[in-house]
Subunit: 380 residues, 2 copies
Amino acid sequence: MDNFVFRNPTEILFGKGMIAEIASRVPTGGPVLFVYGGGSIKHNGVYDQVRAALKAHNLIEFGGIEPNPDYETCLKAVDVVKKARVQFVLAVGGGSVLDGSKFIAAAACFTEGNPWDILRTHGSNVAAALPLGTVLTLPATGSEANGFAVISRRATSEKLAFSSNHVFPVFSALDPQTTFSLPAKQVRNGIVDAFVHVTEQYITCQAAAPLQDRLSESVLQTLIEVGPQTLAAPKDYQARASLMWSATLALSALLGCGVPQDWTTHMIGHELTAFYGLDHAETLAIVLSGVWTHQLRRKREKLMQYGRRVWSVDTAESAIAKTEDFFHSLSMPTRLRDYGIAADDAVGKVRARFAERGATLGEHNDITPDAVAEILHSRA
Amino acid sequence: MDNFVFRNPTEILFGKGMIAEIASRVPTGGPVLFVYGGGSIKHNGVYDQVRAALKAHNLIEFGGIEPNPDYETCLKAVDVVKKARVQFVLAVGGGSVLDGSKFIAAAACFTEGNPWDILRTHGSNVAAALPLGTVLTLPATGSEANGFAVISRRATSEKLAFSSNHVFPVFSALDPQTTFSLPAKQVRNGIVDAFVHVTEQYITCQAAAPLQDRLSESVLQTLIEVGPQTLAAPKDYQARASLMWSATLALSALLGCGVPQDWTTHMIGHELTAFYGLDHAETLAIVLSGVWTHQLRRKREKLMQYGRRVWSVDTAESAIAKTEDFFHSLSMPTRLRDYGIAADDAVGKVRARFAERGATLGEHNDITPDAVAEILHSRA
C-alpha cells in the first residue's frame, strides 16, 4: 500500500424525501444559482421539490447544461454568477450538470487568466470556488461526492478533466425515487460508468492492499447484482438505492486510497466522445477490454483475482469475456463498428491527439500513442 | 435500505513519515494542547516526530490519559485548556487518548452545566468543540475518523459513550510504522475491537443493503487475513498498514449507512470494563457469541450469509464457532471464567445497571435486562 491523503467532506443526504433536507443547508445570505440540464427535472417532480424546499431562497435559474457539459455554456453561467453576485451553486441533475456546476463554481473565482487553463492544468491552479450543493437524479459519475469534473469544448473537439478539493459538494441529496423515470439507456450507461470507475482503480498491478481490493470487488458485485434488477423493474426502490449508493462509492476517492490507478480507458474514451459524440459510458464499454487485453501480462494476476472473486472463473481471459458479456446483457455495445465508426479513422485521430500532447497513460505511465492505436484497433 | 445522512470530514494522512504532514495543519494562532497517555510515545519515536513537526507551535503537554480515559483526568485537562486559552487539541496515542481528547475538546466549550451531562445525554447537547487533530499509534477503535468517544468514571463504575459531529478530527495521521512496537496483547485487542465494530453494524436482521453487507464482509475478511500476520511478523509493514486502514474503516460510519445496528455487545461489554476493569476488546470477545446465540432466530439469515461468505461454512452455528476459534487463535479468551469472574456476580451487577437505566438494547431495541442476564449467564 502506498502513502495517501484521503478527505471527502461531502454530506450525503440519502433516501426517500431527502431533497427537503437541503432547505437548511443552502445559505440564505445571497443569490443561489440553480443549475440544471435539459429540463427532465420539470417532468419528474424534482424541480418542484427543489423549489418547495427553497421557497425562502433567492434562486436564479440556469438551465440547458448539455450531456458532456460545454465549456461555452458554462462560461455563460459564470457571467450570470458574477453579475448577480451569486453566493452558492446548486446543481440539480446528473453528472453532466454536476460537473458543469463544479466548473462554474471554480471559474467564477478564477482570477489567473483564461478559465480554460483550469482544464489545461487539470485543476492544479484552482485556489478557490463558490460553495456547491447537488441534488442527484442519475447514478453514474460519482460527481456528487468527489472533486472531479469533465468539461467538453465542442469548438475544438476537446474533453478534459480537472480535479480540486475546492469543488467537493458541501452536500448531495440522493433520493432513489428520482431515478424511477430514467430512460433505460441512461440507467445502462450509469451502471457501466460506475463499473469502469471501479476497475480503473482495481484492475492494475498487485499492490498489497487487500482491503481496497475487497472494497472494489464489493462495488462490482453489487452493480452486477442490482444493475439488471433496476433495468427489469424500474420502480424497485431497494435495487435503485443500492445502484445509487454503489455509483457514489465507485468514485468517492475511497477505493483508490494507496493503490495504483490506471484511467487509460477513460482517457481514450474521452477522445471518442470528443470526436464522435458517443455517450461517455459507450466509449468505456468499447475501450475497456482492449486495454485489459493489451496489458494482459501486467494485469493478469489482478484479472485472475477479479475473475475468481467476482465471476467464479479461473483465467484472466474468462474474466474479460465475462465483463463483455455483462455489458452485452445490459444492451451495451462494445465495438467501434456498432456505432459505424471505422477503426482506422478513430486510430488516426486519437493517436494524433495523444502524440500532440506527448501523453502516456496507465498505472505505469508508459502506454504510448502507438499502444493506444493498438488498443483501438483491437476494438474495430 | 433506510434513509441516512453520512458525513465524515476527517482528512486521513496515511503512510510512512506522514506525521510530518501535520505541521501545516495545526494552526499556529494559539496554544495547542498536546495530549498523550502513559508515555509509550516517548520510547517509540512518535513524541520526537510530533515535536519535530511542530517546532513552530506553542505546545502545552498533557500526559497521563489512562486506558479507558477517566472523567476526572479529562476535567484536569479542561482546566488547563481554559486557563491557557488553548485553540487546538492534538491527541497522540491510541483510542483512549483520542476519546479523552474528544471529551476535553467538547467539555472545554460546554456551557450548559455539568460536563457529565455530555455523557448522560450521549452528546446530544454538544453545540461546539475545540478543533482536534490526531496522531494514531494503535489501530483499534476507529476514533481517528469518527465522532464517537467513550469515557469512564471510576468513582461510580460508569463507562458511557457520546457522539457529536463537532468532535470529528480535522485530520488524523496514521503511520503504520508507529505500530511495530506495540505489545502483542494490544494488537490482539485492536483486531477484536475492529472486528466487533463491523459485526455490530452487520450481524443484524436483513436490510436489503447488499453493498453495505459486502463492505462489512470486506473489512472482516481483511482483519482475518492480516491480523494473524501482524502478530506473527510485527514489522510487516504491509500487514500493519492493512490492519490500520481496516480498523479505521470499521468504525468510520460508512458501514452503518442505511442499515440497522445492534451494539448490544458493546453496551454489555462497557459494563464489564466498568465493574471488573477488563480491556474493552476482552469484554467484546466474551459477550459477542452470547448475543448471537441468544438472538439466533432473528440473526440466523445474516449469520448464515456471514458464514458462507467469510468462513465458507453453511450454518449460523458454525459461523459463531468459527468466530470464537478466530478469537482463540489470537490468544483472546472468550469466557468470564478466563478472568476469574463469577457469572452470577456479573449477571447481578450488569442486570441491575440496565434495569436502573430502564435501557433496552439491540437493533429491535427489545433486549431487556433479563435478556442481558441470560446472555451473560451463557458466557460463564
